[in-house]
Structures are given as C-alpha cells and as structure tokens.
C-alpha cells in the first residue's frame, strides 16, 4: 500500500469519479466542482505565463515602438471586445468579433476545399481495378459506396424512386462505417480503464505487481 499522500488523494478522487457510475452523489459533485476550479486555475496560470506575458506584454514593455509594435493592435482589439460590458458602446465589440470570425472562416474556405474535397475526390476517382479479387471488389465498393452515401446527402431531390433507393444504400454504407469504427474504438477505451485500475490496484493498494 502506498505511503505517498498524493497517491492517496488521487486514488480517493478516482473513486469519486467512478461512484458516478452508480448514481450521482455528493462525493462526485464535490470532485466535479473541485476539478472545475483546479483546471480553470491551471488554465489561467498557463495562459498568463506561456502566452499573455511572452507574446503580448513582454514584447510591448521591452520596446513599445520596436519591431513588435503591431501588437498594440491586439491591445486595441481587446479594448474593443471589452466594450461589450459597457452600456452605450456595446456595438464596438462587434468589430472585434468580426476580426475573429473573418480569420478563421476565411482560412476555412480553401483548407476545407483541399482536405475535405480535393483530397477525398482524388483518393476515390483514381482507384485501381487490378489486383486480387477482394481488392477489386473493395475498390468497387469504395467508389460505389462513396457515390451512394453522397446521394444520401442530396437535399434538393426527394428521396424517391432511383434516388431514394441509392440514398438507402448510402445509409447502409454509413451504418457499416459507424459500426466498424465503433467496435474499433472499444479496444482503446478498455485500455484507458486498465490504466486507472492499475493505478488503483498497483500504485495505491499494491495488490498487483
């Protein structure tokens, strides 16, 4: 049995989380609220020390009008965003939000096109139809399945007749994919539990070596 007080505390907190499986209880509620406090405190300090100081405050303090002077814009955006909490100038915060939205949404357009469409299409239309019979069958299913599943995502056609039948096959392809991925995930999840049980049985209680 461990003599390290941290291991004891960690073990008790671990049991607190497991107790949720039986039902919600004050112990779990305590652990949950403790965790929220600790993790947000952790976030504050890491962002303060690793991001806010080195990437904004320090460069501006060292040389307010040096090569990093453009960081004053950041201060400006922070100021605009804070206007959200001031009656009368609330609208100014929308400028800051517009800045955030435009960066990520603008970036998303070409990158989604590349990773989500071009890469996927290129991988599907150039399949090989030579090789063993299971490879040929597989590639035929790959192409046919992709087309059928795409048909399922057609919104401006009623799912009736030929379109409906193809879309139905499409949902089956989706279901095969979901089933297979689900099962494959189980393994990794069991190992997570093994990790916690080993912590309890070995590091804490010492009944397993």
């Amino acid at each position: 049995m461990s003599t390290d007080p941290y291991i004891w505390i960690a073990a008790i907190l671990t049991l607190g989380v497991f107790s949720f499986l039986y039902r919600d209880n004050p112990f779990f509620c305590f652990v949950e609220h403790l965790l929220v406090g600790l993790s947000t405190g952790y976030m504050f300090c890491t962002y303060w020390h690793n991001v806010f100081l080195p990437e904004l405050v320090n460069p501006l303090m060292a040389a307010p009008f040096g090569p990093e002077a453009h960081l004053w814009v950041v201060v400006g955006i922070c100021f605009l965003w804070s206007c959200k909490y001031v009656r009368g100038v609330k609208d100014l915060s929308r400028l800051a939000l517009a800045f955030w939205l435009s960066i990520d949404l603008g970036l998303a357009i070409p990158t989604e096109m590349e990773a989500g469409i071009i890469a996927q299409v290129a991988g599907t239309l150039g399949v090989s139809f030579s090789g063993t019979w299971d490879q040929i069958l597989g590639n035929a299913i790959l192409v046919g399945g992709t087309l059928a599943a795409l048909t399922y995502f057609f919104f401006s056609k009623a799912h009736k007749g030929a379109v409906g039948a193809t879309a139905r096959v499409g949902t089956w392809i989706l279901m095969i994919g979901f089933g297979a991925s689900f099962s494959y995930t189980i393994l990794s999840r069991i190992y997570l539990l093994i990790g916690r049980l080993l912590f309890l049985l070995r590091d804490w209680l010492g009944i397993v070596n």
């Binding site: 919600d24 929220v36 357009i109 070409p110 991988g123 239309l125 150039g126 192409v143 056609k157 689900f182």
Partner: protein
C-alpha cells in the same frame, strides 16, 4: 555554418583514414532554379552524384556580381544531391539578383573537382501557387454556383428542399421539455464560434431558444469555448427578448465552464443529472468526450438530438441520440432553420457541386476500370489515336494524380 563544420570534420577524418590518393571526378549536370510557389529568396541547386566511389562531400559556391570570386554556401555530405539556398543560408539570395552556382566534389584527401557553373538564375516571389490552382478553380466553380442560387433565392424562385427530420424533432423536443416542466440542454460543441460547425450550431440554438422562451422553458447552455460563450449568451437573450419574455432570461444558464475537455464532460454530466434536463441537444464539433455527454443523457431519460461534423464521433451519436444530423445535414439544417429563401437556396449549391463531384468520381473510376482491363487502350486505338498505350497511360496518370 554548421554544415561546414561537420563536413570539415568529415573530410579531416576521412583524410587521415585513407592515405592513398584517389582521383576525384566532379558531379555532373548541376543546375539551379528558382524555388516555385514561394515567397521568394530561395534557389534550389541539384546535381547528379560524382562518379568517384569515395568522396568526402560536396562544396557549393555561389557567384554573383557582388561576389565575382564566389562565396561558400554550404559543404554537404556525399549522400546529398540537392540543396536549397534560402533564408537559412549565411547570406540568403536576394530577389532579382542573378546568381550562378558551382558544385564541386571533395575527395577524402581534400582534392577538389568542380563541375561547370550553372546558368544564372534569379529568385523571385510567386503571385500564384501553381499547386493550388485546381483548388482555386474548384472554389470559383462553387462560388459561381453559390451566387447563381443566391440570386435566384433573392428573386423568390421556389425550390424544393427535402425536409430534414431533425428540425421537426427539435421543436418536438422543446415541447416535451415544456410539458415536463424541465429545462432544455444545449451544448454547442467544443470549437470556437469562428468555426463553421459552431456557427451552424448557434443558428440552431437560436431556434431552440426562441421556442423555449415562448413555452416558458429555461435553456441551459454550458460552454467550452470562451468566445462561443458570450455569443451564445447574446443569441439566447435576443430569443427571449423577441418572445417578449426578457424577464425569464437567466444569464447564468448560459455559462462558461472550462476549456479542458474531460473537465467539461464531468461538469456537463453533473448539469444533466442534477437539473434533470428533459431534452438534450448536442450540436457542433465534439471529441472523445461526446459519448460521456450522450450516455449520461440517456441515463436521465432525456430525448437527445445530436449533430456533428466530427466523423470520429458520429458512431457514438448514432447509437445514443434519438436523432442525429450527420455531417452536412447539420449545415443544411442551419441553412433551413430561418425559412430565409436566400439561405435555403444555398443548400442547392451544395447539391450542384456534389453532382459535379459525383460525375468526376464516376468518370475517373470508369476510366481507371477501362484502363486496368485494357479496354481504354483498344478504344483509343479505335479512334485512331497515335500510340494508344502512351495516351491511355497519360490519361490515367492524370486521373490518379488527382487531376493535377
């Protein structure tokens, strides 16, 4: 500079090891070219290896008007056959200045044999990334379709969009919560509001909040993202205003919890169980914690509607939610939620582009199948193409190369 040092040690070691004098031949076919598709300031030099069996390495010298006697760029180990002279060099190439390079082989005893200088090259920044033109073309096609349909939507042309069951179910779910007198729960995902899936999710949140407000039902929206939180709060507040019940809005219901995913999962599980939320909406981008949220919802008997663009989490929503919006359905639902004709018609742009994609996949796969069975070659022969085998190979090469 470090390259230099190492190569120098290399040469020193090698020289002391073998005292025999071996003749050293220069590398051949040295050529230099501006690195394409970059911001300038980079020239790539390449060469065929020296035929000498044992060499200590290569030395790369650069000549320009400012340095007619040449300046050393790098010394490289014998396995290398190319080097990029760029910002990492001692003095990077300047755009617009013509340079030529000399590659020489160094024998183990320090003998040097230089290849003829390369032709002069200048580095320059590119205005367009050649490898991304296909992407740009595809995007322009989509944008064109998008605008045509937006225009048609503005003119109020009616168009058919199949009903998305999840939208009706969302209304029913809110109704159920109101009947039971228990709150509605809405998780907008773990991504920031600046990501498309969250934007779509918040559009749906507005609908849920409006309906809840009319039915005097509180909406609990715990947030993971610090920027989604204030936006979600604003959207719900406006919904309650529009429903004429601003006094029923409780800002604490739309809370920020934490930005660590399993802390978030723990806190959300607590909320679901203790607030006894009757209908749970899990819509947006999720990670592994998705199943913790959804299974806890199942245990409280809540009616659940899921929707995510995260491919890896869809299996878990499919197994635990009463209704799941799969990928694109989430975006389509968000476009249809407001009954705005312009928004509605953009959904049709997806379909047009999808039809184009499907035609390409079908055509490409058919071409591959024809080629792999040899039919393509005979077809090309039939149409009188010169060298059908070559033509077939180049067509398929283009298809397999992703049409680039």
């Amino acid at each position: 500079m470090r390259n230099l040092l190492v190569a120098a040690t290399f040469i020193g070691l090698a020289a002391s090891a073998s005292a025999a004098v071996a003749e050293v031949y220069p590398p051949s076919n040295a050529r230099a070219a501006d690195v394409p598709n970059d911001g300038g300031g980079a020239i790539e030099v390449s060469w065929e290896p020296s035929p000498s069996r044992e060499i200590a390495g290569y030395r790369l010298t650069r000549f320009s008007e400012g340095a007619p006697d040449g300046e050393l760029v790098a010394e490289l180990p014998p396995v290398d056959t190319a080097f990029t002279d760029d910002a990492e060099s001692e003095s990077p190439p300047v755009d617009g200045t013509p340079y030529s390079y000399e590659v020489s082989a160094i024998s183990p005893d320090g003998e040097i044999a230089g290849a003829p200088r390369t032709a002069q090259v200048t580095s320059s920044p590119s205005w367009i990334h050649a490898g991304r033109i296909a992407n740009l073309a595809a995007l322009l096609v989509f944008v064109a379709m998008f605008f045509v349909l937006v225009y048609r939507g503005k003119r109020g042309k009616p168009l058919f969009i199949r009903p998305i069951d999840a939208l009706d179910d969302m209304d029913d779910a809110v109704g159920r919560a109101a009947e039971m007198g228990q709150p509605v729960f809405y998780a907008p995902g773990l991504h920031s509001i600046t990501q498309p899936a969250t934007v779509a999710s918040v559009s749906l949140l507005r609908r849920v909040a409006e309906r809840s407000a009319r039915l005097h039902t509180p909406v609990k929206v715990p947030n993971y993202d610090p920027l989604t939180w204030p936006v979600a709060q604003e959207v719900v507040r406006q919904a309650f205003d529009r429903a004429g019940r601003p006094e029923e809005f409780n800002p604490d219901d739309i809370s920020y919890l934490t930005s660590r995913s399993f802390t978030y999962a723990a806190a959300v599980a607590g909320i679901m169980v203790r607030e006894r939320t009757a209908s749970n909406f899990l819509i947006g981008h999720f990670y592994s914690e998705s199943l913790i949220l959804a299974e806890t919802g199942v245990s409280t008997g809540a009616l659940q509607i899921g929707g995510t663009d995260s491919v890896a989490q869809l299996p878990f929503f499919i197994t635990t939610c009463d209704r799941t919006m799969i990928g694109e359905e989430l975006f389509a639902a968000a476009a249809l939620v407001g009954d705005d004709p312009v928004s509605r018609s953009t959904v049709k742009a997806h379909d047009w582009f999808k039809a184009l994609i499907m035609a390409m996949i079908l055509g490409g796969a058919a071409a591959c199948a024809l080629a792999d069975t040899g039919i393509l070659e005979s077809l090309l022969d039939l149409f009188g193409v010169n060298d059908p085998a070559q033509a077939a190979a180049s067509v398929i090469g283009w298809v397999r190369g992703g049409l680039r």
